[in-house]
Subunit: 480 residues, 2 copies
Amino acid sequence: MNLIASPPAALNVGLDSFNLSITGNGGASLQLDWQPPGNADPALAWQLARLAPDRGDPAAVGSRMDAANATACERIIAARPMLTDVMPRADAVWPEMKNERILLHAGAPVAWEAMCGPMHGAMIGAVLYEGWAATPDAARAMLERGEVRFAQCHDFRAVGPMTGIISASMPVFVVDNPSSGNRAYTNLNEGIGKCLRFGANSPDVLARLKWFEAVLAPTLRAAVRQVDGGIDLKSIQAQALLMGDEVHSRNAAATALFFMQVATALAASDAPQKAVRESLEFISRTSQFFLNLSMVAAKAIMDAAHGIEYSSIVTATARNGTTTALRVSSLGAQWFEAPSDNPVGLFFPGFKQEDANPDLGDSAITETAGYGGFSLAASPALTLLVGGSVADANHYSRLMYEITTTKNPALSLPNLEFDGAPTGIDVRKVVDTGIRPVVTTGIAHKEAGIGQIGAGIVRVPMQCYVRALEALAARYAPAG
Amino acid sequence: MNLIASPPAALNVGLDSFNLSITGNGGASLQLDWQPPGNADPALAWQLARLAPDRGDPAAVGSRMDAANATACERIIAARPMLTDVMPRADAVWPEMKNERILLHAGAPVAWEAMCGPMHGAMIGAVLYEGWAATPDAARAMLERGEVRFAQCHDFRAVGPMTGIISASMPVFVVDNPSSGNRAYTNLNEGIGKCLRFGANSPDVLARLKWFEAVLAPTLRAAVRQVDGGIDLKSIQAQALLMGDEVHSRNAAATALFFMQVATALAASDAPQKAVRESLEFISRTSQFFLNLSMVAAKAIMDAAHGIEYSSIVTATARNGTTTALRVSSLGAQWFEAPSDNPVGLFFPGFKQEDANPDLGDSAITETAGYGGFSLAASPALTLLVGGSVADANHYSRLMYEITTTKNPALSLPNLEFDGAPTGIDVRKVVDTGIRPVVTTGIAHKEAGIGQIGAGIVRVPMQCYVRALEALAARYAPAG
């Protein structure tokens, strides 16, 4: 019989990798990811001080921010995103798509020349899919000539994973949040590997999208319309957190729970049997099918917390493959941007770290709502896909409590003794602690046309929060 | 920011409850559940010594036992239980049920007078269900008069949860293990609360069983027959261990994974739509539906390891509500029995510990195969149902390594850094260490007719292993 020796406990302000020798031996290591408060910039430190709450003075700017953030978190916790419909075509949601060639993409605005390889690949694929051009070269030329308007998913109340391309004839999920009366949209998940969202655009990739249009979307629409009030996405997310998913990079349980509701509903519908069979087969072998639904649920949740005067809560985190960008509740549609980091993780056979594109996709909306990297403690199994140990996973979630406003009581993390997920990223706390949010993510090949090559973990650039803090200070506490 | 203090580590030889103050504070406490080697009986200690391996002498009895146990564990690990059919009636599997009134029940043989309340209740229910009597009183009188033959599920290569009653017209699952060419059977899960298996026998309980016969079983048969080679139960169990189930008292993920295969198969079948809808609705709201399938998979796995000369591996653990009984690989059909302990856990509203029946059911076959209490580290969420902390759950699994022969590489426990489930209970190790196997279990009301009142944890009585050890010594190392 072995006795358990007292495990080591450490506080690390140096390189992340130093923790591994401690956590790998069962010890606890708290990674500070430390930077000097205010990023060592005296002006910024001064702004932070001016935005700090004053407990004696509820009228102080920082106190008002705390109150606004509490309101934002109440709305986040009260949100109940319901999948209420599946629109057969995006241009039925956004009629402007009928009159103009528009491609929605992930992240903040980015010019064609500045776009990353997978974004180019996916745009070319979407042009071919819409029949706007007949060959990849013709599609690329059309895009280079500026004949297609690019717009952000987020500006259309939508989110899309990785490149996040949504075009006129793609079906979209419709999600309603009755607690705040808002609505959000997303596209359908293609699986892993060679997918449009990772920049692949070969004929098989486009054929799958056509099958979505012809078969999967109408079948899912028939299912959703059978369920009174729609399918409760937050309930699925909450259950999945008890079942090894963090509902960003792992959705095996969430997809199975969603599948159970869909299959039961279809058995009560008059959907054609062949379409039902093909649809159920596709979802049952696509364990990330729920990813897009988890994202749109998070979008509906965070939009409910957007637009609150004084709030310093981050309401969107989105990457276009070139930059990572934030939106903040009180700061409208403005993006706070910085160049994206590269995710670090595990790669499919034949690929390596150097092939990785910088961080990409709207999917960090899940972290923004408390899932993904913030709920990594819920998903020990994800470490098999992204690397690291179970202790690392627990550690990341614990760290996120330092930069968030509250714990979501509806989202229990079993390995943290059922504590609620860290919820409500406060721009001030990120800058003050120097702790950057953790995001779990798929990894795209940096070249157009290849697709997914792995999965891993990335941190959001600190400069995004610094810029947001400067804007908060400029708006609410201008230097007198 | 809190620093993590070095957690306490302790070795406890006293009361279990002493651990809680340590594990509750994040520390590690190893509960020895200690008894003197050989149960403080000098004769038994001497027998243990004679059965110990001698590394210098492969012909020594203990060395032969180690070799036999290695063979047993190879068969356990190689087993691949496949659900290959659903028989519409038990008497189609066991024709003797056509000629004689037979009720199969859980555990070792027990006379009517010695049976516990729920076993009486379930037997009365089965007599009514079969139409052998018209009223509960008439059914009881018939049973008291000895007009029904009682037999063990295990003797019919079957297992049944709780009372485990299987009668002539009940449908049964058929599971084949191609690696050893053996077959096993079980009945269908009724859900929780008022169920025949927990001793309830009201008309709604019997009506559900009739619906199994008329609708659910034929529908599942149509599904299973669509799947080439059958449904791979061990693969579902292995995935479910990554998804928060220990596949005994929690089967939420396993049921969802099973559901996905069934629904997909049914969509390719010509099963009637109404039956499909009702069946999918029932399974989707019965998160323990997979329990019986997990049990029969474990039975097929452990039967493959039964009948190996010299092996001291436990191949069945079964409770009839009065006694707990073991079978051992090399000791044939003999049961090694002792009075059952009472499970300790959490109770449904209105019920309390004093209402609990002693430990009941064939379901401890799952622990015998490495699931359930042995894989409790896989199921933090189960602590919500049975009590205790996540640290306790991890601790129980770690403890089970002390009394088992190997780690099953196919069954990873994420919270133990993906170590394999503790596999192959060695009678000698249990007696030598004084560590009793941990079982997760449902709790039945001790009176007939009420049903399930909670769920919890129980330990197998040490005396079962002592008796098995004595039999091993008598057979392989008789005092000279």
